[in-house]
Subunit: 115 residues, 4 copies
């Protein structure tokens, strides 16, 4: 079940059953991801660290749904562009490891340009 390809297959079926490929331009998919990410952010808006833990417990289902919404759009976008999300993530982790070498980045929250 934890396989990217099985999920992608379900997403494709969902989309094609509704004939939605015509709307799923990469620009709109990117906007869709940003919109869902904003809905996830809204759950935590104005809340301090302590309150965040409480929210994570109280609004679990809504958080799961927003995370899933982002995932569904992200997996489809990658698939539409012929990008392997898994490979892209592994490649990016390697690049990030170069941008953020352990000895410089450890315990620091700065962007790589400021390390």
């Amino acid at each position: 079940m934890n396989d990217f390809l099985l999920i992608i297959e379900k997403i494709r079926t969902f989309r094609d059953d509704r004939d939605w490929m015509q709307f799923h331009h990469p620009k709109d998919m990117a906007a869709g991801i940003a919109i869902e990410a904003a809905e996830l952010m809204e759950i935590f808006l104005w809340k301090n660290e302590e309150e965040q833990s409480q929210i994570v417990a109280e609004k679990r289902e809504r958080i799961e749904e927003e995370i899933a919404d982002i995932g569904i759009l992200l997996f489809e976008l990658a698939d539409n562009l012929g990008i392997s999300l898994a490979e892209a993530m592994e490649t990016k982790l390697r690049k990030n490891a170069e941008k953020y070498p352990v000895e410089k980045a450890k315990g620091r929250s700065s962007k790589y340009t400021e390390l």
Copy 2:
């Protein structure tokens, strides 16, 4: 390689090598996803449909990187909250199928509240 768990393991290692868990509050992770989504959007800003295809070809590496950045944060956030991203996506696809029944939603780009 197309397995969620293998990727999550690499993300955890990357983060813990840098002792970054202390910064990765859900509120910040959500903001991080929104920021990466905005960087993806920016690639297509002001561009029409025709130009989008050209951009997809010309800026493939940058698009892959932004998609990967979103994925890395999303997978870690789900993992941090004890959420199975794969299961959450499958559950949400089922809910979406109810919100967007094929006979109502086919070929239409309206939100479910307006179908």
Copy 3:
């Protein structure tokens, strides 16, 4: 009525009547603006150019409200940081004029780094 300072005064009163300054950290204000911007984007999601004109007519009130929400947060954030929004905008327009000289930028939608 078209005066920044009058509006800022009303925003301050609204906030202070509710004792909300304690929540209005710049990080949260920025997130609030991003969330409202996403709500504005959502009105146009999946829509082509032709449909956009129709939406502008049909959903005028909602569009006005989202634009206003962004404005209210933006004006307050600038005010909280002691920034004159009007001056900041004029300064930025001058910088943009240097980044996008007319002879290079005319009729082109590229970012200044690609002109």
Copy 4:
């Protein structure tokens, strides 16, 4: 100088000198605002409350620029749609006063649906 109309006039001139109206569809303007808001958010990403104050001091110019970028797009979008930003903000403040009555909302950070 603190007058909306003077700024709008400068924004119009900047845009028309570059013949950019052709790109400034409301959907793109909304995306542009969201992108600039994300750039503002990024300045505060991963930072706690105490660090935010330091950042406000250290990165003042960058913060001013991001705030101005949002303002420039917001003022132009309102103008393009024939919306008076000042009036829309005043109208929305009145609506917000109804959604968030002082006696319910005072000192609370909850959304009006949860008060």
